[in-house]
Symmetry: C2
Subunit: 106 residues, 2 copies
Amino acid sequence: MPQARLKATHGFHATMRARPGRADALIDALLAGAPTSNENCLVYLVGRSSSEPDVIDVTEGWTSKEAHAEAFASASAQALIARLAPLVTDAAQYRDVVPVGGSVRG
Amino acid sequence: MPQARLKATHGFHATMRARPGRADALIDALLAGAPTSNENCLVYLVGRSSSEPDVIDVTEGWTSKEAHAEAFASASAQALIARLAPLVTDAAQYRDVVPVGGSVRG
């Protein structure tokens, strides 16, 4: 598992709370809606708190803020946001974290 | 970039603050010390806050808590911790997040 240096200049941890009983559906929607075909998306990781299983994290890393903004404005991203809305209790909390290196062993 | 479901059952975000001027050295040490040869380590990601560049994040995902504990007790991990100690202001803050899926485009 080589740990690569990433060329991301933009990224974040978004933390959200699923409505009761909707965490699995939220995870499914997040993973299904992952911007995997966008080469500017370098990191996309969904995580779940083990102590609070309704708390879901998304970590993203992008080549640029502009690339993320463009992707975020796309029809597919807006459709994903619409699918997520009924599954979460409120808006996500964001922390800016730019991924600098690492890897995921699929 | 296929987003894979991960078989992690243990994970966390560790957030630490580098001593002034030591963030690059901290990132280098974290990436160099990544447990890349351990097949139980499914996610290892280092990130840096863009608003507070001394704040460094490490996201890890492991097949089990036991596998992580065993790796953490190893000589190489303890040597890494020794190398990190002079580079950080205090102990890392941990949030338990188990990675459930995603990928990194190296």
